[in-house]
């Protein structure tokens, strides 16, 4: 029993460690004093001011737009690529997967500067477009890595059976293969979306002047002091995601426990 309590305490400590900064940010979002060094009383004014701050709202819009487009495009390209990669000969497959892993294993700073050098030499105008291309690039590996295991488990006979029974290749794919892959595709999409949302380093090197995501905006604000509206915004984002996840996670859990009973 004692060891059991010790185990729980250890997990508790680690979660304190992981969530303490998040708690701090949430507290700061209600802090009436403008500096984060002292507590000036409870207020919700930063939440109200947030909706008047066009620069932050624009950065939020850019971040969301980039994350959404990048993860959708990466999911489509990645899933289609998975089908092709599975049908490759072993040696070519190893090569392609090796190249796919590069953006994941390589340091973000190297990926960032390599893309920056590419865009400069191609004469691209730095802005939303270059950020988007970079995000799609580092999102694709996450999609491929989560779809691939599902693809390996797939029984190829079911797809062929569908074709034999008269389904077209596209119809057969969406009716037979796609539902099997869906959990992998969804987790790949979610992973890509999260990575794109949280990215700073690659965006830092591939963004143009005047275009900001939340990360790059926070980075430029570091020296001047972070605007409290930013704390309010991140609290709102965090709580929204938390509530969504709790809702999504509750339903299947309930079903499972009912079945067990």
């Amino acid at each position: 029993m004692i060891t059991n309590a010790a185990k729980k305490f250890y997990v508790f400590l680690i979660f304190i460690f992981l969530y303490a900064p998040i708690g701090t940010l949430i507290v700061l979002s209600f802090n009436a004093s403008k500096t984060r060094a002292k507590w000036g009383g409870f207020t919700i004014k930063w939440y109200l001011k947030l909706f008047e701050n066009e620069a932050i709202l624009q950065a939020l819009f850019n971040t969301m737009l980039i994350a959404l487009i990048a993860s959708v495009v990466a999911t489509i390209i990645g899933t289609i690529a998975c089908i092709a990669i599975m049908n490759l000969k072993k040696r070519t497959r190893t090569l392609i997967i090796g190249i796919t892993n590069i953006p994941m294993l390589n340091a973000d700073i190297v990926t960032g500067i390599s893309l920056m050098l590419l865009f400069i030499s191609l004469g691209f105008k730095f802005g939303l477009g270059t950020i988007l291309l970079s995000h799609i690039t580092f999102c694709i590996p996450y999609v491929i890595l989560s779809v691939m295991p599902r693809m390996k488990q797939l029984n190829p006979n079911t797809y062929e059976a569908a074709l034999d029974l008269g389904a077209g290749p596209v119809y057969g794919f969406f009716k037979v293969v796609f539902p099997e892959l869906l959990p992998g595709i969804l987790s790949g999409f979610l992973m890509a979306f999260t990575m794109s949302l949280d990215d700073f380093i690659i965006t830092h090197f591939t963004k143009g002047a005047g275009v900001d995501t939340l990360s790059t905006k926070i980075y430029t604000e570091v020296k001047k002091g972070i605007k409290p509206e930013m704390y309010a915004l991140s609290t709102l984002i965090f709580l929204t995601v938390l509530i969504l996840l709790l809702l999504v996670n509750r339903n299947p859990g309930d079903k499972k426990s009912e079945v067990k009973r």
């Binding site: 303490a20 900064p21 998040i22 060094a37 190249i99 694709i140």
Partner: protein, 271 residues
């Protein structure tokens, strides 16, 4: 069959254009000078006292951070695995959830926590304990690294632990192994892929970070990542920056080779 292979063409094009060619450009810039002539100067520049100090410090701090992550994560993963949480995804979510709060803000929050009159010191003073003055020192950077990259150590270890067949452990116990023997002879060897994958996922970003050192180290501590970043954004010496990146990539490649040797089937991947 041929049609299926054609499906890969958009991705192959994408990978060539945005993964292979850009890396080639880093090598091109790193191995040439401003006139375009071949030179090794940008690479040997790492030997200059200023650069080698930054590299050595980065190696040291990321090494310590990786060890701490491993020591914290392994017991945690074992406990989580033994807790019989029927939803694998829930554990993963708890570790991914913090990522939805911006990485820079989360790291900045440690300033508030660690400051001389910050939250932690207020609590310590209240408890009549000596205060902790680690902000703007290398210790704060290690803390920031551990904080940011711990989930990347927990998840692969947790994954490889949860794949261990309980019967193997029972068999070992039936054959007379005690708990320590079960751990050293069965559990630990079977989780090597997860450990290696975790080490890679923590060590590389920690080694190359420039953000954590900037936010928590004040401007006093310069890591190799900071040097490279400044060459690109402030000094605009892309040749030198690329040369130093090539040096960084040598460490990355060593790490990749190690993980390829120990983790042949990609068993220890985060997903």
């Amino acid at each position: 069959m041929n049609k299926k292979k054609m499906l890969g063409i958009p991705y192959y094009f994408w990978a060539a254009m945005f993964i292979v060619i850009p890396l080639g450009m880093v090598f091109y810039y790193g191995l040439t000078d401003k006139t375009g002539a071949f030179t090794l100067e940008n690479i040997t520049a790492i030997a200059s006292p200023e650069h080698s100090k930054a590299l050595f410090l980065a190696l040291l701090l990321s090494f310590i951070a990786t060890i701490i992550c491993l020591l914290l994560a392994y017991p945690l993963a074992m406990i989580l695995c033994g807790m019989n949480v029927n939803q694998h995804s829930f554990i993963v979510l708890l570790f991914i959830l913090p990522m939805w709060m911006n990485f820079l803000l989360r790291t900045l929050a440690w300033q508030t926590l660690l400051e001389k009159t910050g939250v932690i010191n207020s609590v310590l003073t209240f408890l009549k304990l000596p205060t902790l003055n680690i902000i703007n020192t290398p210790y704060a950077i290690i803390l920031g690294m551990v904080y940011n990259f711990l989930p990347f150590m927990v998840l692969p270890i947790y994954n490889s632990l949860s794949k261990i067949d309980g019967n193997v452990i029972n068999a070992a116990k039936d054959l007379g192994a005690n708990n320590v023997q079960v751990f050293t002879k069965i559990t630990l060897p079977l989780t090597v892929p997860g450990i290696i994958s975790g080490i890679t996922m923590v060590f590389i970003p920690a080694l190359t970070t420039f953000v954590i050192s900037k936010l928590l180290g004040g401007s006093k501590v310069l890591l190799i990542g900071n040097v490279v970043e400044e060459e690109f954004t402030q000094a605009s010496n892309w040749h030198l920056g690329s040369g130093l990146s090539i040096v960084l990539m040598i460490f990355i490649i060593i790490n990749m080779v190690l993980s390829a040797i120990f983790d042949k089937d990609g068993e220890g991947s985060v997903l």
